[in-house]
């Protein structure tokens, strides 16, 4: 077909000067690559956030001792108490579970010759339900255990493996902080946290045992609250904050001695940094496409001037204005389309490298590729039209002189 032959003339002229062609497509390559990365990155972040929310508990509010925004729990803060938990239970409506937790990181335990270091949580029986985390061997913590300050514990899968290997731990005794505890159960496997920690390297004991016998404290590390209705969460958080303020005699400009975490806050925090990065990448993509388009246009304009004689000759041997227009448009569209493919390749490559390097669960999907094609065609058309018009408008007599 005649049209195809003319389009092919445009494509062929790209092969004659490869450096020029490269500069024509550089902007498109960078722009599209940035686009691919930003979408993959955004999707990955979103997946990660969902994961975090899921682990945190979509219906959970955590009241954690110690101020600060995102600091690790501060073990030295002594102001959060069992009475605070009781006050929440009594005064905040529509909460299903309020369960306080005393905790200590890096606590040593021993069984025969085996040693292990793990996280210790002192919990109430409702802890199991609040985290949907139950004993798969033996039993969990019971009211009886709390009441009697029982010297018992329930261990995570990692502790079981480290201390007991393949033998059955239930009924055996281990030493934790020189206190002898009987293993009454083993928690189900939870795997690694989104932050990379090991959920299963954990030992839980009755909260009374933990506070009196093991840690000798009269305060707790955190209180976990499960709401009946996620819609109510914002008001409930407000209420809890006010309640603790009152109970701890804090008037707001004063710094809090606690912080509250919720799925919404967790998601917002996780998005925070990634959003700036995304905006930066989107700006880079847009800027590259724009600058690339302008460069493309200028190179084409120069090439129209350089190829005046060629254009005049083509007109003399029978090319119409439309044919010349089509040839130059085909040239710019081909440039941006090849640039798009190269950019997609580069983008996928960068994505895979980032995935290896950062452990962010970057997710490739088809949407950005469709988007890229649209952008490539748009840039090619938008910035190709003017040079094509200029070429087509040349007077053949003057072009040939």
């Amino acid at each position: 077909m005649r049209t195809q032959r003319i389009v092919w003339q445009g494509i062929q002229s790209l092969g004659t000067n490869k450096t020029r062609t490269f500069f024509m497509m550089a902007g498109t390559i960078v722009g599209i690559a940035a686009l691919i990365v930003v979408v993959a990155f955004g999707k990955g972040i979103e997946t990660k956030i969902m994961e975090k929310v899921e682990t945190f508990g979509p219906r959970a509010i955590m009241l954690i001792a110690g101020g600060g925004k995102n600091a690790p729990p501060d073990m030295t803060v002594t102001t959060l108490t069992l009475d605070d938990a009781q006050a929440i239970r009594e005064q905040v409506e529509d909460v299903e579970i309020v369960t306080p937790m005393a905790w200590r990181f890096r606590i040593n335990m021993k069984y025969k010759d085996n040693q292990n270091e793990a996280v210790l949580w002192g919990v109430e029986p409702s802890w199991h339900e609040a985290w949907s985390w139950y004993a798969v061997e033996g039993d969990g913590i019971t009211d009886q255990d709390i009441a009697t300050m029982a010297r018992v514990c329930v261990i995570g899968q990692t502790i079981k493996r480290e201390l007991f290997g393949n033998s059955n731990p239930v009924g055996e005794s281990i030493y934790v902080n020189k206190v002898r505890l009987t293993v009454k159960g083993v928690l189900e496997k939870r795997g690694t946290s989104p932050m990379g920690g090991d959920f299963d390297n954990r030992i839980i004991v009755p909260i009374t045992t933990a506070m009196r016998r093991l840690l000798n404290v009269d305060y707790v590390g955190a209180i976990r609250i499960i709401t009946k209705d996620t819609e109510l969460m914002p008001q409930q958080i407000k209420k809890i904050r006010a309640l603790i303020h009152a109970r701890h005699h804090i008037t707001p400009p004063e710094e809090d001695d606690f912080r509250i975490a919720s799925p919404v806050l967790i998601a917002r925090m996780a998005r925070g940094t990634s959003r700036t990065l995304s905006i930066l990448l989107i700006a880079l993509a847009g800027l590259s496409l724009l600058v690339g388009g302008v460069v493309l246009m200028n190179i084409l304009l120069i090439s129209v001037a350089e190829r005046e004689k060629e254009i005049g000759l083509r007109r003399a041997v029978g090319a119409t204005r439309g044919d010349i227009h089509l040839q130059f448009l085909a040239e710019s569209l081909t440039v941006t389309c090849i640039g798009m493919f190269a950019g997609c390749g580069l983008g996928v490559l960068i994505t895979l490298i980032l995935k290896q390097a950062t452990k962010v669960p970057i997710t490739l999907s088809w949407e950005p590729f469709v988007l890229s094609l649209t952008f490539a065609l748009m840039v090619g058309l938008f910035f190709g039209v003017q040079p094509a018009r200029k070429a087509a408008a040349l007077n053949p007599v003057e072009a040939l002189r």
């Binding site: 005649r2 004689k309 000759l313 007109r315 041997v317 007599v397």
Partner: protein
């Protein structure tokens, strides 16, 4: 074949009107070999561009092969150039990066129907100008004379009604010029219509007929009494030198 009646062309640059052609009339029949002569600036190229449908006259009538060119739009003119006219320029105007073959085939790209035997047609055209063995050469690998012969092959490939040559020997040395004229002679003998523009009487006298332009008008239009023969001249030229 070509009917030119009271053709006028006036350029207007910056409000200043420059009349170049002031009523030119002549007819050229099919199979004629005509030279248009005149001193520099008399409007030979201007006339040639009009004959080649690259430019339009300001006034007057131009009929090509029964078509009134003045009534055609730009696209129709392009199509007409493609089908009926073969151009040969003083500066050859070959595509620098394309081989002789591709240069010769260029007009076919703009034809309505791409012939199936395009390659053979190009080879035949190159053979007709004696360059069958140079089909893969690029312009910078060819001499000026050879480049002009490639350009003639390009003009021939669409089997046009007329060949229009504006100073085809202007950029060539005498020998290459004569070789080009020998090709025109052969093409004329095969029945082609050739219109040649030159300011050189020696070149013009290879044609059958000379139209002399002067001051925007036809000053003289007569048959050449003693036509020159490029083949004979090439022979005498060859006898005078060592053949290279």
């Amino acid at each position: 074949m070509i009917e030119v009646e009271r053709l006028e062309k006036t350029y207007s640059t910056g409000g200043l009107a420059t009349p170049v052609l002031k009523g030119v009339s002549f007819h050229i029949d099919k199979g004629e070999y005509v030279a248009i002569m005149g001193t520099s600036g008399t409007g030979k190229s201007t006339l040639m561009n009009i004959l080649g449908c690259l430019d339009k006259p300001t006034a007057g009538h131009y009929g090509l092969d029964g078509t009134a060119v003045g009534s055609l739009d730009d696209d129709a003119l392009s199509s007409l150039r493609n089908r009926k006219i073969g151009f040969v320029f003083q500066q050859f105007h070959l595509l620098e990066r394309a081989t002789a073959m591709r240069n010769v085939m260029l007009p076919l790209i703009y034809a309505e129907e791409y012939p199936e035997d395009a390659e053979e047609m190009a080879e035949r055209a190159l053979t007709a100008v004696g360059l069958a063995d140079r089909r893969r050469y690029r312009p910078n690998e060819l001499s000026g004379g050879q480049q002009q012969r490639v350009a003639i092959a390009r003009a021939l490939i669409t089997d046009p009604e007329i060949i229009l040559a504006d100073e085809p020997t202007g950029a060539l040395d005498r020998k290459s010029g004569l070789e080009v004229m020998a090709i025109f002679k052969k093409l004329h003998e095969q029945g082609r219509t050739i219109v040649l523009v030159t300011h050189d009487r020696g070149v013009a006298e290879h044609a059958q007929r000379i139209i002399l332009l002067k001051d925007g008008r036809v000053a003289e239009d007569r048959a050449v009494e003693e036509r020159r023969d490029p083949d004979v001249e090439l022979n005498t030229l060859g006898a005078g030198e060592d053949d290279g």
